[in-house]
Every structure is written in C-alpha cells, then in structure tokens.
C-alpha cells in the first residue's frame, strides 16, 4: 500500500484535490466532518493520509509516507541535503510564494545584498552586535547569505508576524515568504532587488526512505501513468 500525505486543510488541500481530480484520481474526505479520514478513487493500492503541510517533509524523510504534497520551501528548510532524501516528481503549479529579504523603506542606501553586507559591517561597528535578520527559514537564509559572502549578521527566530519585528526593534531586516508583498508594504519594508532566496510552490515529492515493495512500485507506475508524471524506476 502506498501512503500519500496531503495537507489536511485549507486552500492547499483543496488545490491538491483539484490537481489529482483533473487527472482522474479522486481524493476525498471520508467519515464525519472534522474527522481526518480520507479515501482515494481511481487507482488501487493508494492510501490518503492527511497531515499538516509542515510535517510532511519530516514524514517523507522518515519514510512513513511514500509520496507527499508540500511546499518546496518547507522541504529545503527542514531536510538537510534534501535532494538525497526525496525526489521532486511534479511541481503542482499552485501555492506560489517567494522567500525574500526585506529591509525598511527608509534605508535609501540599501538595494542589494552588497549594500546589506556593507550596512551590516557599519551597523556592527556602531551598535556592537551583528545586524539581526528575523526569519523562520534558518537553513535557507543562512545558506543563501553564506554563498553570497554576506557577513556580520545574525538570524533571530521568528515563527510569525515576522514583518513586525523591525518596528518592534527586535530585528533590523527580515527574510520571509511573500506572495503579493502587501504585508511588507504595510510594515514599511522593501524587498532587496537581488535576494530571491527561493521561489516556492506546492510539489509532489517521493520519499527515498519509504519501504517500496514490488507491489508498491507497480502502484507507483500506474499512478505515474494516470498523473502523467515520470516516476523513478527503482
């Protein structure tokens, strides 16, 4: 039996159901309202598991689900060396959001990473501590800034309302997901022009660690045909 993990609520769940439905596979909730039970029609041997989108990367890495739908940003953030643990089978074309760096609009001298780096050096010299960037995407942001040679910053953990940290003086800049940029503008922040850290969307992932029996492989091949998705042979 192949287990496929899908976000358990909201637009992400609806869009995922739509995406599979358009390809002849019906994912649906079963049982009573609010009960997390689900069913799959249109292909044999597939079981639907409803999970929080944030937990799907971990479940894929542990091999407790064979396939999973979640944001590409979450997989890259939560899984070390992600491409060794999961394979991207198909981008699903929804859930688009960009992970960006933003600074106060008043920073007329900062438009690029180069500027941010120079401003960080001066900030540290003036204030005696490293320039603070609030984010929940620690791995993605740190890897990005390291690869671009930005120094003299520190990451401050912010699990929500990240745009407010600058006004509250708990951070000087932020790195967060945005789709329209409205929240950024409302909080007097602007996006750096060359700091698109990751362009995220919902993706169907395959777990390397899951137990793939011969029957499961046959099911995967059949599923791949229906979805018009190339699946790995092994």
């Amino acid at each position: 039996m192949i287990k496929i993990g899908v976000p358990s609520k909201g637009r992400l769940m609806e869009k995922t159901f739509d995406w599979f439905g358009a390809r002849g596979i019906t994912l649906r909730l079963a049982g009573a309202e609010r009960e997390y039970a689900a069913a799959v029609d249109g292909v044999e041997g597939v079981e639907l598991v409803l999970l929080s989108a944030g937990e799907i990367p971990r479940e894929l890495a542990a091999g407790r689900i064979h396939l999973g739908v979640t944001g590409s940003d979450l997989v890259r953030e939560k899984l070390a060396d992600w491409s060794r643990q999961v394979t991207e089978l198909a981008p699903l074309g929804f859930g688009h959001a960009d992970l960006i760096l933003a600074v106060p609009v008043a920073w007329i001298d900062v438009d690029t990473l180069d500027d941010l780096d120079a401003a960080a050096a001066a900030f540290r010299a003036t204030h005696g501590f490293r320039l603070r960037i609030a984010t929940k995407y620690h791995r993605l942001v740190r890897d990005f800034l390291t690869s671009h040679g930005v120094a003299d910053y520190q990451l401050i953990d912010s699990q929500g309302a990240t745009e407010g940290t600058v006004k509250n003086l708990t951070a000087e800049a932020i790195a967060d997901i945005t789709s329209s940029g409205e929240t950024l503008r409302a909080n007097h922040l602007k996006i750096l022009s060359d700091a698109l850290i990751h362009s995220s969307q919902a993706v169907l992932f395959l777990s390397h660690a899951a137990d793939w029996s011969d029957a499961d492989r046959a099911t995967l091949a059949a599923l791949g045909d229906k979805l018009n998705v190339t699946v790995p042979k092994t």
């Binding site: 007329i108 690029t112 500027d115 671009h148 000087e172």
Partner: protein
Amino acid sequence: MMRSAGQERATSDRLAAWFVAKGATRVEADILLPAETLLDLYGEDIRARAYMTVDPVQGEMMLRPDFTVPVVQQHMAGGAEPATYAYSGPVFRKQDSAGGRPSEYHQAGIEIFRRDHPEDSDAQVFALIAEVLGEAGLPLRPVTGDIGILMAAVRGLETSTRRKQALLRHIWRPKRFRALLDRFSGRAPVPKARKDLLDRLAQGSPVDLIAQAGTFTGLRSEAEIAARAEALIEDAQTPPLRAPEAALLYDLLSLQAPSRAALDHLHGIAPMLPAILPAVDRFAARLDALAARGIDTDTLPFEASHGRTSLEYYDGFVFSFHAEDPALPPVASGGRYDALTAVLGQGRSIPAVGGVIRAGLLARLTGGQP
C-alpha cells in the same frame, strides 16, 4: 570502515604525548563553551557547523568546535610566556550533507605563543606535524600559504581606506573578495542596481530622501543611513585601481608554485608592490627556518590563496596535509592567528601559531597502526 572510538582516542592521546615529549605542556579544555564568543568570532556560519544548546543559567552554549579558541583564552588569562601547548580530545561539527563525515572526532594539536622569531615558531609547528605524520608512513601531500602577503598587498593598494577595509573584511571569503576586486579595478561594470541607487541618491540630501521614502522604522538610525549614502557617493568618485596594481593582485591571488620558486616570483613583483616586502621577507625567513628543520623547501607546495575559507582566523602562515583521496578532509591543518589573540585577549595580544591532526582519519588511513 567502522570507526573505533577507542582507537581514535588512543591515537589522539599518543599524538599529544608525542608533542609533550617535544617540549609542549599538556592542557585540557571544556567541551561546553559559551556560544557568544564563538558566534562573535565566526559569525552566523558557525551555527550551521557547531552544536548549540541552552544552559538555564549561562545561556547559549556550544559543543567545542575546535581547541584553538579555549586554549587561547586560557593562555590570555594568565599563561607564562613563551608557551607551547598540546591537547587531545573530541571536537564536534554538524555535517549538513549526508556525505558520511563524522560529526564527532578527535583532534590532537599544538599551539605556540611566542613573541620573538615568529617564522621559527611557524617552522617548528609545521616540522613537528610533518615529522609525526611521517612516522605514520603515509604519503601525505603538504600545501602551504601565507595570508599575510595577501593582506599586505591589499593594505598597500593606492585606493581609499574604505575600499581596503572592504577587501580585508572579506579576505576569507574568496568569492566576495573577487567580486569587490573586480569592481574596484573596473573589470566588472557598476551593477545596474548600484547605478540606479546612485542616481536616486543624487536627487536630494539623504535626510530628504529618507523622509520621502516613507514611514521610518527600525533601530538603524537616520544618521547611519545618511553616512552610508554619503560613503556610496564618495566611493563612486573613487578612481579604479591602477591597472598594473590590479594585475599584480590578480597575479598574487593565483600564485601556485614550489615555495622557493614562489619566493623568487614574489621578489620579482615586490618592487612594483613595495607594501608586500616585509611580508615577503618573513616568507623568506620562514623558508630558511623550515629548511633548517629538514623540510625540502625547493619542492614544498605554496599557494597564495591557500587557507582562505570562512570559519578560519589565520592571518599569516597556513598549511595543511592531504591524503590521496580528494574527498577526505585534510589529515592535518594549521596556521598563524596573531589577530585572534587580540580579539580574545581584551586589549592584550601575543603572536601565535598552531596546528591540529585529525586523529581518527590518521588512524583509519594507517589501518590502525599506532
């Protein structure tokens, strides 16, 4: 191959005992270290490489990522001079990729704190490590470098202090250093974003522009923003590095040759880049000191850019010893870190040089032979 913790520790302790037999004093260091010092020193990168934990009273702590920092702190807190220390124990580094490198491994090392004859101390550390590795009978390839020459070349450039400081700040980040150098020498065009920014800054006083930009938020003050805006305008008017000077710096960055040939080459360019002369003289003195300790300096590989990686603090001589398999980390590495002692010494400093051996890797490569 199975890692044997017992064998690794035995090898590491034996190496430290060997350093002690050569005159070093054995020292110990805590495994749990206050994180703040290390974070300030290495920046956010260390968070990705070191294990962090939280103590209810002492705050953020870090599992020892190397011995150098705690050994320097011990020495600066009241060690006698000169001093030679040896140590052995586990260090901890997160491995973010599933490449199979251990995240806990033993290091045996030696550190020399001594004010006179720095080149002789450099040679002593290198020669001791070469000797003890030689006793293991492995065909290890040494590589040496000297970050001091590169720093001297940057300090001697005919350009603004601000540009020199920017280059020095990124000397351990080769990609960013190169990008800055390309821009300062006019080899890379001014990026469009910077041109647009300068155009905007030309439209009014910084204070007016800040007011027009919208609601002010954040801790970085108007004065700080205005100061950098003015610095940007000033920098835009700074002429590019003279072409011959820039060419010499590019030449220096790519210099790779056997040590004596490298010295000849540096003597050749020094008249055109006189600021590097004292550093080149130190390089020459070091080669003599190495030769006096039996190292063949005619063949010893030298690379001017060696040792320029983040998470390092070397500012002079650097070296490493490599196994044949390029996928393996260096079996041994080290260098001079005079500036680090000033950072950790709260106003005091002492010239220092040291090196470490990855005992577990050595044990593995020698098949566990002691």
